[in-house]
Symmetry: C3
């Protein structure tokens, strides 16, 4: 790939006479070779790049590596991401078109550019937009709508009625549209409550491997634009995730909780149902969140508290055994002081 193409993608100037240099691939600061491009997103990797054979480097404006071509940008990490996308092989893993071992219901409307892998099942009344790629042994149940340039990896299950926008990525083993966990009681027995709702996944959202997203009831479960979900996350019925929110692995969100936009949620967090998590908030790993969270709040712990408060509490916990001894000592001293005072006063 010509350097000029990369420069155009990342909005960098091309050093004079270097536009036609051929770059074979992108690599890490440590491993890059002469026909590779790499990136300096953290000064600590400077020495690795100095020592590596990297021919080209994406750098922050003003940074220089003598003898290497430098593409200067405002944010080299973003430059790296965009360049990596250029080098990504996004071609279907099992070839173009509909594989002969796939089953596609005759009523499905599938753009001619779609690829569908072996063993994949497409139900009745499914619509799939241009350039979408569905790999092997997936199931797309009836009446699902899938936009353009969507990637659905092998083994994902999209249950009936799901609406998926464009540029969405759904990884292997994910289950979209499972039943919600709703039960009434009749004496000691639970009575299942069927869910009359769907899941909506908006443009640009990404769903990790073995994520489960329950369908809504009456109203939909909604994954907003550009949301990023890591692996093994559980989202219950009627959860709403606002645009550009990111959630790390193994987090679970109970029914009807609404997470705002641009929220960052770390791994293994749990949320009770029916609460609101404000825009631009941050929730630390393993937190248990049982109340509304204000916009821009930074919370952690279980029960979740303000981040700095929680850090102080955690620090104090280490002193707890000493504190108990100290209080016991104070008590004894106070006692003897009282006795002495009594003796004096007598």
């Amino acid at each position: 790939m010509k350097l000029s193409l990369i420069a155009a993608k990342i909005c960098s100037a091309v050093p004079e006479g270097k536009g036609d240099v051929e770059i074979k691939s992108i690599s890490s600061p440590k491993l890059a070779e002469v026909d590779d491009i790499t990136f300096l997103s953290d000064p600590k990797y400077k020495e690795q790049i100095d020592c590596s054979g990297a021919g080209a480097v994406i750098v922050k404006k003003g940074v220089v590596f003598p003898g290497k071509i430098c593409l200067e940008v405002d944010d080299p990490y973003l430059g790296y991401a965009l360049t990596a996308q250029l080098f990504e092989d996004a071609s279907p893993l099992f070839g173009d078109g509909i594989h002969k071992s796939a089953f596609v219901d005759p009523s499905a409307k599938i753009d001619a550019s779609v690829s569908i892998g072996p063993g994949t099942v497409i139900g009745a009344d499914v619509h799939i937009g241009a350039n979408t790629r569905i790999d092997a042994n997936c199931v797309i149940e009836r009446s699902t709508r899938i936009g353009e340039s969507v990637r659905i990896d092998s083994g994902a299950v999209i249950r009936y009625g799901t609406i998926i926008g464009s540029d969405v990525l759904i990884q292997s083993g994910a289950v979209i549209g499972s039943d919600g966990f709703g039960n009434a009681k009749s004496g000691a027995q639970f009575v299942r409550i069927p869910c009359f709702g769907i899941v909506i996944i908006e443009d640009g959202a990404e769903i990790g491997a073995c994520v489960t997203i329950d369908r809504g009831n009456f109203e939909p479960t909604v994954i907003g634009k550009g949301v990023k979900l890591d692996n093994l996350i559980h989202l219950a019925h009627n959860v709403e995730i606002g645009a550009n929110t990111a959630i790390a692995a193994q987090t679970g969100i109970s029914g009807s909780t609404r997470v705002g936009e641009r929220v960052i949620i770390a791994g293994q967090v749990g949320f009770v149902g029916h609460i609101e998590i404000g825009d631009d908030s941050f929730v630390g790993a393993k937190s248990g969140v049982s109340k509304d969270v204000k916009p821009k709040a930074k919370i952690t712990g279980y029960p979740a508290r303000d981040f700095m408060t929680m850090r102080r509490i955690e620090a104090c916990m280490s002193e707890l055994p000493d504190l108990l001894k100290e209080v016991k000592r104070l008590k004894t001293e106070l006692e003897s002081l009282k006795n002495a005072a009594n003796a004096t006063s007598v």
Copy 2:
């Protein structure tokens, strides 16, 4: 659907002359329209129903909505669940019968009323009872027994020898009968212990998406009647879950632990192995349970403690930084008081 049919299902009287009113669907208090039925399970939704166009409402005995047909019951939430079941479309997603792209071993015994979706694999010596529905790309391994009116959603894997009762629901991505995590040691190396046991899922139990249930060893892993499991739960080998117990998402239970009947377990809880969780107990979210739990106990936290005790401890934790300062101050004061006393006594 005629109102009289709904009334019969939920054991409500039919207001005079209204039995033949046609109800199109069930809807939420907020969204219900004139030919919908809705329900008032919590007084806070009263206003929504007043404002909605709902033609009929399931209410607690004595509650009245002027201009709307009211079906009076003891428990409107139960009435709602039962009515929702009436409106549920339980027909197979991929048509009746055995799909031509399914593989069914010739030795399997399958009732004529069973539906098996595309790409589903049925192993040797599998028996499947009447009205059971298995959707697409499932695997039912050899010698599995499945009762009547079972629903197995697309992509579920039922491993060999599993015994499933009637009216069971197993959601997509669930794995039933995986190997237990048992290892002996030979020097530094682990030596795998094969499991000679099965999983039994009793009548009316429901298993969420991507739940994993390990097969037992010598004796079975048992999911009791009417048990409800949310998504992404892990049950290890030889776990037993008593009847009518409900477990929320992402909880894990280690080997040979026995959970009683009518237990409620919240999300992301962990249990060590070989303990007993008493009937009618309650375990709060994110708890870590390492000891037996008494019947009717209500515990939470890690290590899990009595619910009220834990709430008190949590409240105290917030005061910990102030407490440390206070004790330091007391110490200083006590010191100066001692010095003063000494000075006086001299």
Copy 3:
């Protein structure tokens, strides 16, 4: 199976004249019958064995059960594991060879002894070694390498380029080689970072059901020799797990963290990225680990601390409500003592 065969496998002497005794199966101390062999790995099961009809028992050297054949070994639990392996039926669940409903790309190189179950999909340029068994509805994506005597259970997904050694076991629903969770930011929007790396699973490793292992970036994610992973574990991109380490269910490890050899990690633990977990360390259940862990360290809690320290802190937490009251009382007493002292001094 002849007793002599079992004795040979577990390196035990055969009691005189008993080598030809036929053993039908291995069973538990409680259930063993006359033609079964069982084991005494814990003295508490001695009575069960006395009462059982077990014909033969694997025991620690010197232990005697009158009337039963005793095979003496150094470690009866290891003896049990090895004997159980002898009795395990490891034959393919769906017959030998490549099932007619499987799809195998013509460019795949598959040993004649391999079994591939119904509905399984094998991509281009996949190599599979002798005696490997892949059950139903699996996906093995292109350019994957699989060694000898590997077992891949129904419904597992092995994504492109994965390298799997020999004697590896991958359970149902596992996803190997999912994309890493890496994102740059462009304003409020995330920009996905494609991963240019693979997953390597070394000889003898075992991967539980619904485990997700992300592919590395530039360098591989590595699961070392003999590693044992329980169910529903998440390993992020570029994680490395050292040989003979065992990890219990629902644990998650963030990107680039390196876990040493012979480490024991309990369930529901979370690790931040880019840290080192030393050889032979132990991490307690539900811990949150955010710093390097020294070799042989034993830690637990969140934030994780030395095991004994954490136990002391936990014990102190129970006393916290009383401590607060005590300090308040001390304060009052001190106050009155000061007042008394002031009064005296006046």
